[in-house]
Symmetry: C2
Subunit: 112 residues, 2 copies
DNA sequence: CAACACCGCTACAAATAGTGTAGCATGCCT
DNA sequence: AGGCATGCTACACTATTTGTAGCGGTGTTG
């Protein structure tokens, strides 16, 4: 799958708008999950595999490649970790944690 | 694909934590894109297809089903639109628009 | 009423993406 | 040298997505 570099055509948009590249990237299986799991700190490849409970190494590796190229993640001695940019991104997304709890309550309430 | 209802097992997590259901949902192809596009207002099925430039009707329909069940989207006379919950979600995500612009600058600068 | 233009949506085959298991190559420790 | 952990690849299998065609329904217009 072509890496959604902002400025180029991506899945779902020919305009090259950065937001479209980002939505393409984050909309890929496991991309959000990987970033979310890295939030708890750096991890080696295998640790990250464990945090993601069921990701295949093949896919983990290809997502990490994409995330590295797009500079949201990099690898240091301590393992894979979020870059400055990656942390900014996660900061924006973090409120989803709390929000999802209310959302869950709402859905489960309606289901009865 | 099973719908990621919070409280049940979802892709990547056996715990049933709402955030995991949400990450599963949003990590599916086009889910984020659909929500993002609905932000500009209600749309009929076909209008939504156009907004999403390249989505296939098959997939659009199955994503919409998921989003309806999970109460982020519903259908009214005016077409598909975000629910109250959907709007809350998009409010959280909205800053990604601006952020992505800076991110793009950063990446493209480094590439030279 | 017939012809037309929309609508939401489905069918289905072909193409693409993801899974799961095994294991290679490398480096470190004893 | 032997054992162990690491990052990562190979590859066959399965699941998901695409793309095109078109169905059945609801106006609207002549």
């Amino acid at each position: 799958m072509a890496i959604p570099v902002p400025g180029s055509q991506v899945r779902g948009s020919t305009t090259g708008k950065p937001i479209m590249a980002l939505l393409d990237l984050l909309g890929r299986t496991w991309a959000l999950g990987i970033v979310w799991n890295l939030q708890q700190g750096p991890a080696t490849f295998r640790q990250l595999q464990l945090r993601c409970e069921q990701i295949s190494p093949t896919l983990l590796n290809s997502r990490l490649k994409e995330l590295k190229i797009l500079q949201l993640v990099d690898m240091q001695d301590s393992g894979y970790q979020l870059t400055q940019q990656g942390m900014e991104l996660i900061t924006i997304i973090l409120p989803l944690g709390d929000w999802s709890q209310n959302w869950a309550k709402h859905i489960l309430k309606e289901e009865n």
